[in-house]
Structures are given as C-alpha cells and as structure tokens.
C-alpha cells in the first residue's frame, strides 16, 4: 500500500550531493513529489526534505541507500502524523478582482492568506499551509482571474527527534571511534 512519506536528509555541504541522492530515486523509478534544500540550524549542514508516495518496504530500502552515501549524515523517513509541515504558495490575481473587492478580501481572510503586493494589473496573495489548504485557496481564487501560481516544496519539522546538535555530537564521537551504529 502506498503512503506519503517525508524524507529528511542531513548532509555535508558538497557540490553534486543532491544529484547523488536524486539518482537513487531515479534508479528505483520513484517520482519525487516535492523537494526542498537549505542550510539547517547548524552551519555547513544541509537539510533536504523530499516527499514521495511509495510502500513502506520501498521507503525503508530507499532511506538506507541514501544513508549509505558517504556525505549523508543521516536520513530519516516520517509519515504525515509524525511531522509538522508547511508549504508556501504565491497567487498572482488579475486586479479585476478588486471589482469584487468585498468577496475577494473575504476569501483571502477566511483562508488566512495575505495580500503581499498590489499593482495596477495584479495582486499577489501569499498563503502558508498544507497542500490541501493551498489547493482549496487556489480553487477559491481561480474565479477572480489567476495569472500565475507558484507553490514551494514541503518543509518539515519532525515531532519526535533529537536536536541536530546532540545528534551531530553523537555521530562525531562514533566516527572517531569508528563505530557505526547509533539509535534514531
């Protein structure tokens, strides 16, 4: 049975490492639904968040293959219940929407979105939330004249996890004594 998994990967800062990781997905014919990469709270350590919908068996093998890459510090996978995640979306709406100003403002407010830019031709609305919230706002805004729509990948914080710094200390000690295992 396919489930949506969010894979969090902590890596060293290395050119090409993202390529090395995505190759593992390609090789197993797994489509990446969304991907984000940015520096973590620890300088020099990067965090990739990758969303896939596959079986549990597949995600287990996939994460082991990712973990095996030399410059990957650790990879985890989580189901939706174990994470707090958000995406951000920007909607560029025709300024004709202002002809129905009251209704438009109501839609924006009821969806906890905000207007971030207004010009003669268009209005830009920003919404942060989960995928469903964003899609629902998309549907509501479409009738006002959607000129452009951009959505980010998912960023996620896991609920049950050690802080990255404790975890780093652990693996640094382990690699010094050359011992592989630590418990996640």
């Amino acid at each position: 049975m396919n489930t949506t998994y969010t894979i969090s990967i902590f890596t060293e800062d290395r050119i090409g490492l993202l390529n090395r990781i995505t190759i593992i997905f390609t090789r197993q014919h797994i489509n990446i639904q969304s991907i984000t990469a940015s520096e973590s709270e620890v300088k020099g350590i990067y965090r990739y968040t990758i969303v896939v919908t596959i079986t549990k068996e597949m995600v287990e093998k996939l994460v082991k293959q990712i973990d095996k890459q030399i410059e990957v510090l650790k990879a985890f996978y989580h189901v939706n219940e174990e994470i707090i995640s958000r995406e951000i979306a920007l909607f560029k709406i025709s300024s004709e929407a202002l002809n129905q100003n009251e209704l438009f403002t109501k839609v924006v407010n009821e969806n906890y979105a905000k207007i971030v830019s207004v010009s003669a031709d268009y209005i830009v609305v920003e919404k942060t939330g989960d995928e469903n919230e964003i899609l629902s706002l998309f549907n509501s805004l479409e009738k006002f004249g959607m000129l452009e729509y951009a959505r980010s990948g998912k960023v996620a914080i896991t609920k049950p996890m050690k802080t990255l710094t404790t975890f780093l200390k652990e693996i640094e000690n382990n690699s010094k004594t050359n011992i592989k295992h630590f418990n996640k």
């Binding site: 090409g16 390529n19 295992h181």
Partner: protein, 569 residues
C-alpha cells in the same frame, strides 16, 4: 631519479598527486595518458623508479587490470585516465567494481576549471556520469585540495564495504602550486565503515544455530574481503555445518573439505541449490542474495530462519528478510560467534548433500569431464587444467559459459584465487584483469580463462602484455559461439540462434603479432601436453582449445524457477 624533500616544499598539484600516492604506499598504476592528465604524467616521469606504470591499450583495460590487481592483493587498484573519452571508457569497470565491492582509486584529468561546462575539447561531466557507480567521487579544482582528496579517496575505497572512488582533477589544479603535506584520512564524520557488532544478536544467532537441525552456511565475497576464511572454517567445523559458496565467495573455503558442498546459483551444484529449500537455518555470511543465487525469491528458503552477517546496512532485508541480522565485519562477527557455538555432529544432514553430489556426478559431471563425444568439452579442459595446476593457479575468467564451467570445475586451494566479474557480468573483463592479477602476484601462475567472444572485447591488451612483459597465460575455450546466449536461445528461444555465431580470427596469429607464443589444439590427445606447455612457459602464452560448439552448462535453475527446481539436463 627524483628525491624530493617532500614536506613543506612547494610542488605542483600534479607532483602532489604523485607524492600522495607514494604516501599511500602505491606501487603500481594502470593508465593511459591524454591532454588533460599530461601534467600528472609529466610529474610521474620523475618518479618512475618508485612507481610502476602499466600502459594499457584502452582505458577499459586499465580499470579491469586494476580490479584484477585489487582482487588478488586486497590492495586498492589505481588508475589514471584523461578527461572525456578517457574517463568515460572507465565507466564499465567502475560499475563492475562497485557491484563486486572492489576498492579502486581512479584519477581522471579534467579540462581547466575556467572551461568547465563550456563543452571544451574532451570535456565530459565524469563526476556526474560516474556518480551512480562510484562509492564516492569528487572534482578537485585547486592544487592544495589534491592531497586531502586522495587521502579521503583511499580511506573510503578501502574501508567498510569496499568500492571504487574517482577523483577528477582539473588541469589548472595539476599545474597549480601548493605546499605538500600529507595527512592520512582516518575518519569522516558522516561515514561509519566499521560497525560495532551487537553481542546480543550474536547470542541470538548462536542459540538458533545450536538448536538447528539442518543449518546451512552460504559463504560470500565478504568472507574474502574481511579475511575471515579461518574463522569460517573453525565455525563450520565446530558446529558441523555444510558450506556452499557464491561465485565471488569461491576460494574462501577449502574445496576438498568434507563440509564443502559446492557452488550456489543458476549454474551451481545440485546439492546446495536443492538444500537451500530444505535447511532450517540459513546462515548467509558476506553475501547479498543476488538473483543468480536466489532465482525466484518468493520460493527461496521460505522454511528457514535466516541469519545474515553483513557489513552494508542497505543489504540487510533488501532481498531476503533476515530473522537475525549481524551488522559488521565478518571476521570480527565470527570471532565473537565461535565461543557461543556448541560442538555438534550432523551426519544425516550432511549425507543428504553427499547423495545430491552423487546424483550430479552421475548425471552431469562424469560425462562432462570424461565425455564420449569426439570434440572436446569445456569441462574436461578445465578439469584437466585444475589437475595439472593442482588447484594452485590464480584463475581469471571472462563472462559466459567458460566462466560457469571454471567456477564449477576448478577447485581453488588458496583464498582470492578466482577473479571473475560477478554482479555486472562484464565481457572483456578477463584478459586485462589477469594482467592486473599477474602484476600484483608476479610469482604465481595467473591463467586467464576466456571465451572466444569476451577475448575479442579487450584483445588489444595483448599489447600491454607485450610492452610490459607480463607472463599471463591465456586459455581460450573457443566454441565459435557466444555460448551462454546460444544456450538460452536453444532452451528458451526455440533454437533461434540470433547473432550468436562467431566467425573468429586466427587467435594464435594475432598473439604472434604481439610476440606471444601460442598453440591451438582440437584433439583430446593433445590436451594434457598443451596445458603443461602453457603452464611451464616462462613468458606469456596462449592456448586455444577448440571445443564442442553447442555444449551446455548444467545444472541450471531457469529464470523464475525456484532453486529447488534445478534441472540436471
């Protein structure tokens, strides 16, 4: 030649590379020069008294030679190639080394860094291309980054589950100046090659083994890689457990030992395949349940509890779920296991294997090694070669029927005496790999057993043998077919021999052109003497044996069948 006061002296990046190799105790390099690696070759010119460079005839020859070198010596093979086509020609061998866990350090030249990404002459993104088939790779664009990259490369290639690494060095980095200082890499914070073995799991495994009625050991390449041969022997003897070997595990367990029951897999022995589905505890050591071993996994050892000794966490539960997984080095794990194991005798269980062996002997082996046919059969050639060399040769094979026949009929007395392309099945591997093996072990007999197809894929390496005086023996089993594919066409494609028949050249004349003596035989009466002549030759020698055209390798487990559905004819 050059004696460098190498520390705290300014050197070029190219010289820093050479000094780094010396600091890693490298003696031998296989390579081929070209534009983007010229500064390195120029630096090498000053160190020819300290480093032996073997000039191959094609970069694929260099990489397979490095593989052969590594497989018999346990040391990493080192390869030089230039950018672009030089680098891409390495890819097949890198992929082969990756799947067969062979430590290699590949150095490729690259265009100058200001030309990267501009489609410059001989520019290829070799880091990108080699990414899926290397354990690790890196591009270096500054002279001062070369020594640390080489240190990491050797550390990564040789630790944990070994594998190939590639260091791509831009031409400006080779020309650049740096203060040379070498620090060996001893740890990388994101890499844990040496897992601490979980003693509780060892205890659980021992309990399962001690209570087992029909335990069965599968010995893989990992036993050789961790030099755990003695530990395996002690464990098998104490618990009286039969041992079968994977293709790459061959030579890890003494073949004449009463507990040795044979070779696993598609063309392996009858007993070990059949008994896989009869054992109650399957003990897999340093093997990865390749599909040529398991065949249909849904019908593989379903009745058995599985104990998997493995150093690579991603191999555990990848194909066959393990009831007990022991993550770590095979030798250390077996050392911990041995005191927990009870001494036992399992006469009845072992008898089952003996009976299978008798059946296989009667139905397959007898006629294969002592045939009634007029033409020579492959098995009798290998059997004779085994007897004459007394199982002491280092045997390097290519890929195909002759490879399976060699694995079945040559019995290796010493560890690391079979070099073969297992996972990737690379035709063309045999001849260059034998060259590398002979370079690593100049005092041993190294015999390349080749088919007529694979030989021609890297036949140009006869030039390397000539130039560097490498006394490799070449035994070609010529059936004028791509025999393994032909066998499948016969069995599964209604004898439609689509492009498997070969019109072959005069191999002996070709060898002669390279100054290599040779002999071609077609008759049984000449076989023994010809093998003697080949083995006794001080120089390289080629023996071409014309064999039965349509000989088949049996037993066989057909694709999709269960291991216990192995057929004998």
């Amino acid at each position: 030649m050059k004696k460098h006061n190498k520390y705290n002296t300014e050197v070029t990046g190219a010289e820093a590379l050479i000094l780094s190799l010396l600091d890693e105790n490298v003696n031998d390099i296989f390579g081929y020069p070209g534009g983007a690696i010229m500064p390195i070759y120029d630096a090498l010119y000053d160190y020819m008294d300290q480093l032996n460079h073997y000039l191959v005839r094609h970069e694929q020859g260099a990489i397979h030679a490095a593989q052969g070198y590594s497989r018999v010596s346990g040391r990493p093979g080192v390869v030089f190639a230039t950018s672009g086509p030089g680098a891409t020609n390495l890819i097949t061998g890198i992929a082969d080394a990756q799947i067969d866990s062979t430590p290699l350090v590949c150095i490729t030249g690259q265009v100058a860094s200001h030309l990267l990404g501009t489609d410059a002459f001989q520019e290829t993104d070799v880091v990108g291309i080699s990414m899926p088939v290397t354990k690790w790779n890196i591009q270096v664009t500054k002279a001062e980054e070369i020594a640390p990259a080489i240190a990491k490369a050797f550390y990564i290639a040789t630790t944990g589950r070994p594998g190939p690494v590639l260091v791509d060095i831009t031409k400006d980095a080779q020309f650049g100046k740096t203060n040379y200082e070498y620090k060996k890499c001893e740890s990388i914070r994101s890499y844990f090659p040496h897992p601490k073995i979980n003693v509780d799991e060892i205890k659980k495994a021992a309990e399962l083994i001690n209570n087992a009625k029909r335990p069965f050991i599968l010995c893989g390449h990992g036993v050789l890689l961790s030099s755990a041969e003695r530990q395996l022997l002690a464990f098998a003897e104490k618990a009286d457990i039969p041992v079968a070997s994977t293709l790459l595990g061959l030579s890890a367990f003494p073949p004449q030992h009463p507990l040795y029951v044979g070779y696993l897999g598609m063309h392996g022995n009858y007993g070990p395949n059949l008994m896989t589905n009869k054992c109650d505890v399957l003990i897999a050591i340093g093997m990865r349940f390749d599909d040529r071993v398991t065949s249909n996994v849904s019908k593989y050892a379903k009745q058995a509890k599985v104990i998997h000794f493995e150093i690579d966490p991603s191999e555990i539960n990848k194909i066959i779920p393990a009831d007990i997984a022991i993550l770590g080095d095979a030798k250390e794990a077996l050392d911990l296991l041995l005191p927990e194991i009870k001494t036992q005798k399992r006469k009845e269980w072992l008898q089952g294997f003996d009976e299978c062996n008798k059946i296989e002997y009667e139905k397959v082996i007898k006629n294969a090694v002592d045939p009634e046919s007029e033409k020579l059969r492959m098995a009798e050639v290998i059997d004779k070669f085994h007897k004459i060399s007394q199982g002491n040769a280092i045997v390097v094979t290519d890929v195909g029927q002759h490879q399976m026949i060699t694995s079945r009929y040559y019995k290796f007395n010493e560890p690391n005496h079979l070099v073969t392309s297992g996972g990737l099945g690379t035709m063309g591997f045999g001849l260059p790999a034998a060259i590398g093996a002979k370079v690593a072990k100049p005092n041993e007999d190294v015999v390349a057993v080749l088919g007529d197809g694979g030989f021609q894929m890297t036949i140009q390496e006869l030039g390397t043998i000539m130039q560097s005086n490498i006394a490799v023996k070449i035994l070609v089993l010529n059936n004028n077919f791509l025999g393994m594919v032909r066998q499948w066409q016969q069995l599964f494609f209604d004898r439609r021999y689509s492009f498997t028949e070969m019109k072959n050249p005069d191999f002996i004349a070709i060898a002669k052109g390279y100054g290599i003596t040779g002999k071609k035989i077609t008759k049984r009466k000449d076989l023994q003497e010809a093998i003697f002549e080949m083995l006794e030759s001080k120089d390289a020698f080629i023996l071409e044996v014309v064999v039965e055209n349509e000989d088949n390798v049996f037993p066989m487990v057909a694709t999709g069948a269960s291991v216990s559905e192995i057929t004998l004819e």
